[in-house]
């Protein structure tokens, strides 16, 4: 369902050109659980951004669910992200002035979904992620683990086909990190693909398929 071929991503830093991604060839099947590991600056976040349609490759071809998405403009990309992608970030990125429920609702609001429908989905998400008691709390009244659960619920609100998690445990203690991973993996068992970027080998090892990146290229692809 995701097919990347010949993906190149070049950044210009002053006079220098930095090859963040070189000749990436990657296929991710529906429902796959995949971790991306590698040293800092190896391009794993850039690859995640390209997969998540946040960033556009300089060269190559990207097919998502059988559709070529390489040449889409900004607004088409926004709509595609809304429909297909769910993001979970290291720093949660919750809107501080909105309550947990409002944060979870945000993608549905942006997509223009009817308030009635939104309320139903919201109720389901709150109960699925054990957030009913916290629904009307603002992020600063929530623990890190709760914040990340809100972020995951938000990522799931539009029923995405891919969940992209960039260091989702990077800002949490070990115990909370394990909890959050369990929640993410439950999402994956629900049928969606899960792409995880992490530094932590222990976390990375939980995935069924493990990619290693060095200097913008995929150097290892283990399964099982």
């Amino acid at each position: 369902m995701i097919r990347l071929s010949g993906i190149e991503r070049v950044f210009r830093v002053g006079e220098e050109e930095v090859h963040a991604l070189r000749g990436i060839e990657l296929e991710i099947a529906r429902g796959e659980y995949l971790s991306l590991m590698g040293p800092s600056g190896s391009g794993k976040s850039t690859l995640l951004n390209v997969i998540g349609l946040l960033d556009r490759p300089n060269a190559g071809r990207y097919e998502l669910d059988g559709r070529d998405v390489t040449g889409l403009d900004d607004d088409e990309l926004s709509r595609a992200r809304r429909e297909k992608m769910g993001f979970v970030f290291q720093f949660f990125h919750l809107v501080a002035r909105l309550t947990a429920a409002q944060n979870i609702e945000l993608p549905m609001v942006l997509a223009g979904i009817e308030p009635g429908e939104r309320k139903q989905r919201l109720a389901r998400l709150l109960s699925a992620y054990g957030l009913e008691a916290r629904a009307h709390h603002r992020p600063d009244q929530l623990s890190g683990g709760q914040c990340q659960r809100v972020a995951i619920a938000r990522a799931m609100s539009m029923g995405p086909s891919v969940i992209l998690a960039d260091e989702p445990t990077g800002n949490l203690d070990r115990h909370t990190g394990q909890e959050v991973m369990a929640v993410l993996e439950r999402v994956h068992h629900g049928g969606g693909s899960l792409v995880l970027v992490t530094h932590d080998p222990e976390i990375g090892a939980r995935a069924q398929r493990r990619l290693r990146m060095v200097d913008g290229a995929i150097v290892g692809d283990e399964r099982g």
Binding site: Q102, L110, A111
Partner: protein, 402 residues
């Protein structure tokens, strides 16, 4: 994104950033309040002048000797050089016009009015009984001048309220005699207090019959003829009739100036309206300043909210969504500021109204509509740049770890 949700989202932002919101509300409010207050002062002045002219009498046409090309100046200000005087006969001849209901010839001078040992200098008007109706005068006591042939007079007079109290010091003036110059007049009426009209304070005048005034000031020449047309529509007919009749009587020469109250009024109306617009416009500059403040604050806000905007884009907001959010926010702020400004402006107007109760301060309708619209217009205009900047933010860089 649904409109209601866009509004809700903008509302959250407006509530979320209190200090910023208050600042913008203040700037917008001051701008709108200034426009409303200043234009209501101008409008008050206009209405005041219009009302003053209105008290001249309705359907009034003023005939003055001498020719002037000026169509609308205030009678009394115009000094026409007179080739030939306007006489009582001229005035009586005007009665031929079917468009004229009544007329009153007028002679004006200053007279030394005395009662026993008391005396004072007052304006003395010589006219006929019809002056009362033409000028809408009211009597406090007694009657106005008796009707009759204006060429002959009885020794009677009508005095203003202040003249009566000052000269007769507590005694009833009615029926008493007073002396103007070397002639004696019996007081037959006292005018009700009316205040200023046609350049005279009616409380401080003495009105005597026309023929008496002619003798008193030793002149045949009339100062004015006040003519009342039968209706508003007949004013123009009366005006041309007057010009026609007087030209005939003056061997074909046009030697008078005929001023209609409408023309005078229209001129004042125009001048004061233009003045109000001008000062209102000046006040509107403060709205432009408020607009620039909004732009500034919005630009800062785009920088401060980089993460949030990046996040919204990552979650699927299109550029149009983001722009609309910023516009909505600006409109909400401007609307709040405008309402605040209207309220403050109204209060200010009431306050000035308390200080000067005789002037009818009211904000003109165009200011009440234009000020908030300008406020919203500037808000939207000046948030174009910030909104575009926000919509163009690259989500990856906006979200990047600080």
């Amino acid at each position: 994104m649904r409109l209601a949700d866009t509004l809700g989202f903008a509302w959250q932002v407006v509530r979320g950033y209190r200090a910023r919101t208050l600042l913008i509300l203040l700037a917008m409010g001051i701008g709108v309040a200034a426009v409303v207050a200043v234009s209501s002062i101008g409008e008050g002045a206009r209405l005041y002048v219009v009302n003053q002219f209105g008290s001249l009498g309705t359907h009034l046409v003023v005939v003055l000797p001498g020719r002037s090309e000026t169509a609308g100046a205030m009678p009394g200000v115009l000094i026409g050089k007179t080739p030939r005087d306007l006489t009582i006969e001229d005035a009586l001849a005007l009665k031929r016009s079917p468009a004229i209901r009544r007329l009153a010839p007028l002679i004006v001078g200053a007279g030394d009015v005395r009662v026993g040992a008391r005396n004072r200098e007052t304006p003395v008007l010589g006219s006929t009984s019809e002056l009362m109706d033409i000028r809408h005068m009211a009597m406090a006591q007694g009657q106005f001048l008796p009707p009759g042939d204006p060429r002959h007079s009885q020794p009677v007079c009508v005095v203003g309220a202040k003249v009566a109290t000052e000269l007769f010091a507590g005694r009833s003036a009615l029926g008493e005699w007073l002396r103007v110059g070397d002639r004696r007049f019996r007081v037959v009426g006292i005018l009700a207090t009316q205040g200023e009209s046609l350049g005279f304070n009616t409380d401080e005048i003495v009105i005597v019959p026309l023929a008496a005034a002619q003798a008193l000031f030793n002149t045949e020449a009339l100062f004015r003829i006040l003519v009342e047309a039968k209706s508003r529509e007949q004013i123009a007919i009366a005006q041309s009739d007057i010009e026609e009749i007087l030209r005939e009587r003056h061997e074909g020469k046009r030697e008078v100036t005929v001023i209609t109250q409408d023309a005078v009024l229209a001129t004042f109306d125009r001048i004061l309206r233009a003045l109000t617009l001008a000062v209102g416009g000046l006040a509107a500059i403060s709205l432009a300043v408020a607009g620039i403040l909004i732009m500034n604050v919005m630009l800062i806000s785009v920088t401060q909210r980089r993460h949030e905007i990046g996040l919204l884009k990552a979650l699927g907001a299109t550029g149009a969504n983001i722009r609309l959010m910023f516009f909505t926010e600006a409109v909400l702020l401007a609307l709040g500021g405008a309402l605040l400004g209207l309220a403050v402006g109204k209060l200010g107007q009431l306050f000035i109204g308390q200080l000067f109760p005789s002037i009818p301060f009211t904000a003109p309708w165009w200011a009440v509509i234009a000020a908030p619209l300008t406020a919203i217009g500037t808000a939207v205009l000046f948030s174009v740049a910030p909104a575009r900047r926000a919509a163009r933010l690259d989500p990856v860089r906006a979200l990047s770890k600080r």
